[in-house]
C-alpha cells in the first residue's frame, strides 16, 4: 500500500512539476540526417558528427514543486567538442513540434558559427548576432524561438534579489544579443538557456585549472564558477604522467566510485559488478585519454604467429627494391615480399547484415555489363555504313580492296581492370566506434566492392598487405585476376585480420607487377589505407613517404592509374604528395566506407 501511494504521488508530483510538452516532442534521430548537411552548409567542420548528449547537472534554482518532485536536477543542453556536436536527444520545451524542430536547426546553426567557446556569456551573444545579421531568415527564426523560450522560463515576479538581476540580464541578452557584457553574480546558475551552447563538459584538466585563475579580465566572478560548474561533469584524467603502475597511496584516503585512480590496468576491470548501474549514479566518468597507450607508443618486434596457425606462404618470396631518398636511388632486392594465402578459411556466403546492400550494389553495377552497340566499318554487318562508303569514294588514297562498309551490332567491353590493395596493418585493429574496428569496416568494404565488381564484369583482383621490416612484407592474396569470385573467395575476405606494419612501397611495386599482366587499356590500382606508411625499422616519416611516392610514380609510368582512399583525417597533409591532388579521397566517416567505395569506383571509371 505504501509503495502504491508512493508511486501515485511520484506520478502526480512529477506531472505537476513537468514543464515540458511531451506531445510536441521531437527526437534528434528524426532530424539528424537533415541537421548534418545543414550544419556543414553553415560552415560547420565537415568531420564533426551529431550525437545525442547525456543530461548535465546544472546548479540552478528550482521551483518549490520541482524540488519536491525531485525533477529538473539534470537538463539537456547543447555542447560540442573537437569530434562532435552534442544535441539533446529530445526537445520538448516548446509547445509545438514545429518549434521544437526549429530549435534543433537553430542549435546546429549556432554550433557551426561558434566552434570554440572562450567566454560562455559573451561568445554566445556574439555568435548569435553574427548569425542573424548575415541571414534574415534565421533572424526571424531566432526571435520566434526566443519569444517562445522566454515564456518557458520562470516568471520574473517569482524571483528576487540577485536571481532577479541575473534573469533580467539573461533575458536582455536573449532579446538583444550582444548587448550584455556581464552576467550578474548570483548564488545559483541561471535557469538553463536551451538556445545557447554550453562549454564542453569534458574539457581537459589544464583548462579547468586555468578557470580557477579567472577566465579573462572582464569575466564576472560567477562566470568562472559557471564554467567550472559545468566542466565538472566530465573530467579528463591526466594520465599523461608516465608513472604507470607506481602510485603514491595514502592509507587514509578512501576511494569512492567517482574517484579515479591513476593506475594503468586496462585488463583489470571486474565486469561482474553492475557497472551500468554505477555509471548512472556517477556525476562524472573519468575517461583515460591514452587508450592502448603502451602498445601504441612502444616499438617492439611482435612475435610472429606460429607457423601452423599462420596463412600459407606461397613460394620463397619475391625480392623487390626500395627507394632510399638520402642516397637518391633504389636499393635493389632490399625487400622480401611473401605472398600469403589463407587456405584454412571456410567458404562462406555474404553475411546476412550485408545482404541487402550487396544485392543493391549488384543490381546497380550490372548495368555496366557489356552492352550491344553499333560498330562502324565492319567487313560485314546488318546495315550499310554510309560514312565509310563516302570515305571510300572520296579518299584520294583509295584502296579498292577496302570493303569495310557495314555497321554491325556487337558487344563492347569496358576495357579496364582493377586491383584493390587493402592496408591490413596493426592500426586497423583500433576501434572507430563501440562495436566496429577499422578492420571490420575494411573487410565489409572489400566484400561489397567485390560483389559490385563481380556484377559489373570488370576483371579485378584483391590483395591485402602488412609488413614486419623489409624481410617480411606479407602480401595476402584474397582474389587474383584469374580466379572466379566464389564463396571460397568470400571466406578469405571475411577472414582478414589485422597484421603488422605498413610498408606500402613494396606492396605497390608488387601490385604494379600483377596489374601489368592484364592486357586491358586501363589499369587501376585502388589502395585503401588508414594511415601513413611506416614500419619498425627506418621505414617511417620521410623515408616511408618517399619510397611510397617512388613506387606510385613508377606505377604511373607503366600506365597504371593509382588512387588512394583513406580514412586518416590527417591524410590531406601527405597524400597530395604521394598521389597528386586528384589521386586520392579522404573519407571522414569511416563507417560509410563500405557504401562509398563502390560508388567511388563508379565515379572513377564511368565513361559518361
Amino acid at each position: 500500500m505504501e509503495e502504491w501511494v508512493g508511486e501515485v504521488w511520484h506520478k502526480l508530483i512529477t506531472k505537476r512539476a513537468n514543464t515540458e510538452y511531451p506531445d510536441a516532442s521531437v527526437s534528434l534521430s528524426a532530424v539528424a540526417s537533415q541537421l548534418a548537411p545543414y550544419f556543414r552548409a553553415l560552415g560547420g567542420e565537415h568531420h564533426k558528427v551529431i550525437e545525442p548528449t547525456s543530461s548535465l547537472k546544472i546548479n540552478f534554482k528550482r521551483s518549490l514543486i520541482q524540488r519536491i518532485a525531485g525533477t529538473h536536477q539534470r537538463t539537456h543542453l547543447c555542447w560540442h567538442d573537437e569530434r562532435s556536436i552534442r544535441l539533446p536527444a529530445n526537445i520538448a520545451v516548446f509547445p509545438t513540434a514545429a518549434l521544437n524542430q526549429q530549435a534543433y536547426f537553430w542549435l546546429a546553426a549556432l554550433s557551426a558559427e561558434l566552434p570554440k567557446i572562450q567566454h560562455w556569456f559573451v561568445d554566445n551573444q556574439q555568435a548569435i548576432l553574427t548569425l542573424i545579421t548575415k541571414r534574415p531568415g534565421l533572424k526571424r527564426l531566432y526571435f520566434t524561438l526566443v519569444d517562445a523560450f522566454i515564456q518557458t522560463r520562470p516568471a520574473i515576479d517569482e524571483l528576487e534579489g540577485k536571481q532577479l538581476a541575473q534573469e533580467q540580464a539573461v533575458r536582455k541578452a536573449l532579446l538583444n544579443p550582444g548587448s550584455v557584457a556581464e552576467l550578474p553574480y548570483a548564488e545559483k546558475d541561471p535557469y538553463p538557456i536551451l538556445l545557447w551552447l554550453y562549454p564542453t563538459p569534458l574539457s581537459s584538466v589544464s583548462s579547468v585549472a586555468s578557470d580557477d585563475d579567472g577566465l579573462e579580465e572582464n569575466t564576472a566572478p560567477n562566470q568562472a564558477q559557471k564554467v567550472k560548474g559545468v566542466s565538472k561533469q566530465g573530467h579528463r584524467a591526466d594520465d599523461a604522467k608516465e608513472t604507470d603502475g607506481l602510485l603514491m597511496f595514502m592509507a587514509e584516503s578512501l576511494f569512492t566510485w567517482t574517484e579515479h585512480m591513476n593506475l594503468d590496468r586496462p585488463q583489470d576491470e571486474d565486469l561482474e559488478q553492475d557497472l551500468a548501474g554505477a555509471t548512472e549514479d556517477l556525476d562524472f566518468i573519468t575517461v583515460a585519454k591514452q587508450r592502448r597507450s603502451n602498445s601504441a607508443r612502444l616499438k617492439f618486434d611482435l612475435d610472429l604467429p606460429a607457423p601452423y596457425t599462420d596463412d600459407l606462404a606461397i613460394g620463397d618470396g619475391i625480392k623487390l627494391p626500395e627507394w632510399d631518398y638520402k642516397k637518391g636511388r633504389l636499393k635493389p632486392d632490399f625487400c622480401l615480399l611473401q605472398p600469403m594465402l589463407a587456405d584454412d578459411t571456410p567458404p562462406s556466403p555474404v553475411p546476412a547484415e550485408l545482404h541487402r546492400t550487396a544485392r543493391k550494389l549488384r543490381n546497380q553495377f550490372s548495368i555496366l555489363r557489356p552492352q550491344q552497340q553499333w560498330v562502324h566499318r565492319q567487313p560485314f554487318g546488318s546495315e550499310l555504313d554510309l560514312d565509310a562508303y563516302m570515305h571510300s569514294v572520296t579518299d584520294p588514297n583509295v584502296h579498292s580492296q577496302d570493303q569495310d562498309l557495314y555497321i554491325n551490332r556487337s558487344n563492347t567491353f569496358r576495357d579496364l581492370s582493377c586491383l584493390l590493395l587493402a592496408d591490413l596493418s596493426m592500426s586497423t585493429d583500433s576501434h572507430i566506434n563501440a562495436d566496429q574496428r577499422v578492420i571490420d569496416v575494411i573487410r565489409d568494404s572489400i566484400l561489397l566492392f567485390a560483389e559490385a565488381l563481380d556484377s559489373a564484369g570488370d576483371p579485378f583482383a584483391i590483395y591485402g598487405f602488412s609488413s614486419i621490416k623489409n624481410k617480411q612484407v606479407r602480401f595476402n592474396l584474397l582474389k587474383n585476376f584469374a580466379e572466379k569470385y566464389t564463396d571460397a573467395t568470400r571466406g578469405r575476405i571475411l577472414g582478414v585480420k589485422p597484421g603488422f606494419y605498413t610498408r606500402m612501397g613494396a606492396s605497390i611495386r608488387q601490385s604494379t607487377e600483377v596489374l601489368c599482366t592484364q592486357k586491358t587499356t586501363q589499369r587501376i590500382l585502388l589502395i585503401i589505407s588508414d594511415g601513413k606508411p611506416n614500419d619498425i625499422d627506418h621505414y617511417e616519416g620521410r623515408y616511408g613517404i618517399e619510397d611510397t611516392r617512388q613506387a606510385v610514380l613508377a606505377a604511373k609510368k607503366r600506365g597504371i592509374q593509382p588512387f588512394c582512399i583513406t580514412i586518416d583525417e590527417e591524410a590531406n597533409d601527405y597524400l597530395p604528395y604521394l598521389f597528386g591532388d586528384q589521386g586520392y579521397a579522404v573519407i571522414s566517416d569511416a563507417e560509410s566506407l563500405p557504401t562509398l567505395l563502390p560508388k567511388l569506383y563508379l565515379n572513377l571509371t564511368s565513361l559518361s
Binding site: 548537411p37 553553415l42 546553426a109 541571414r135 531568415g137 588512387f563 586528384q582 571522414s588
Partner: protein, 257 residues
C-alpha cells in the same frame, strides 16, 4: 553581336589578350558554371573575332571537328567542320569540356597548338595553315575525379593555362545584378545562400551551386516567382536527389529568405 557583360576576377583578360597577340592556345580550368564559356564569349567580342563553340561529348570524333564529305546534287563534296572553318577564316575555336571528347580529337589539336599552327586533313590531303586570327581555346573541369578522363600531360603542356573559380561574394553580387538587374538586397541574400551551399560540396552534394544556377534563380525571382520557390526549384532540386539533403537545403533557404 552585343558584347556580353563580364566582370574580371583577376588578370584573366590581360592574360588572354597577350596569348591572343602571341598566337598561343589557351586552356581554361574551372568548376561547372563559373563563367568559363561566358569569359570566352566576352573575349571573342572584345577582340572582334568570330567564335566557334563546340560542346564536347563522348561521341565527338575528329571528323566532327575537321569536317566530312557529304552527298550533294553532283556527287560528294567536302564540308568543313567548325575547327577547319576557324582555322581557314580566322576566329576563336572553343572546345568546351574537351576531356569529354574521344581521344582521337586531341591528336588533331596537337599540330595546331604548337609553333606549326597547321591542320592536316587526311581525307582531302590538304594541309591548312592557320589564319593569323585563329586561336584555340579549350576548357575542362579538373574536379571530376575520373581516371578514364583527363587531359594527357603532353596535350596540357601545349597551352597557356588559367584556373577559374567562383567569384568572391562581393563580385558575385555584382554579376547577379548585372545579369538579371535584381535588387541588391536579394542578390546578396542569394549569394550568401550560394556560399553556404558550396560548403556542402563533396560531403552532401556532388557539385557546388554554380554562379550560373544563382543567375537562373535570380532570373526567376526577378520575373516574379517567390524567392523560396525559386531557390527550391533552381538550387535545391537541381543539386541533389536525396530527400534528406533537399530538406536540409530547404531549411537553409529559410535562413536566408
Amino acid at each position: 553581336m552585343t558584347k556580353p557583360n563580364y566582370l574580371p576576377q583577376g588578370s584573366e583578360v590581360e592574360i588572354f589578350n597577350h596569348a591572343a597577340s602571341n598566337k598561343l592556345p589557351v586552356l581554361i580550368k574551372g568548376p561547372t558554371g563559373c563563367g568559363k564559356t561566358h569569359f570566352v564569349e566576352h573575349m571573342a567580342a572584345q577582340l572582334g573575332r568570330p567564335l566557334y563553340t563546340i560542346a564536347c561529348h563522348d561521341d565527338l570524333t575528329a571528323t566532327d571537328l575537321v569536317g566530312r564529305h557529304l552527298i550533294g546534287e553532283n556527287g560528294t563534296y567536302w564540308q568543313d567542320g567548325p575547327l577547319t572553318k576557324a582555322v581557314r577564316e580566322g576566329g576563336i575555336c572553343y572546345l568546351d569540356e574537351v576531356v569529354e571528347a574521344r581521344k582521337d580529337t586531341t591528336v588533331v589539336l596537337h599540330p595546331l597548338s604548337d609553333h606549326r599552327r597547321i591542320l592536316p586533313i587526311d581525307r582531302t590531303g590538304e594541309i591548312i595553315e592557320a589564319h593569323p586570327d585563329f586561336m584555340l581555346v579549350i576548357s575542362y573541369n579538373p574536379g571530376y575525379q575520373n581516371l578514364m578522363k583527363g587531359l594527357k600531360p603532353s596535350t596540357r603542356q601545349r597551352f597557356v593555362a588559367m584556373e577559374f573559380d567562383y567569384p568572391v561574394p562581393e563580385r558575385e553580387v555584382v554579376v547577379l545584378i548585372q545579369e538579371t538587374s535584381l535588387d541588391k538586397q536579394t542578390a546578396q541574400q542569394l549569394v550568401a545562400l550560394g556560399n553556404d551551399l558550396r560548403r556542402m560540396q563533396d560531403y552532401d552534394l556532388e557539385e557546388a551551386a554554380s554562379t550560373r544556377l544563382l543567375i537562373y534563380t535570380a532570373l526567376m525571382i526577378k520575373s516574379g516567382l517567390g524567392a523560396k520557390e525559386a531557390c527550391m526549384c533552381c538550387l535545391a532540386q537541381p543539386l541533389s536527389d536525396e530527400s534528406e539533403t533537399i530538406k536540409a537545403i530547404e531549411k537553409l533557404i529559410d535562413c536566408h529568405f
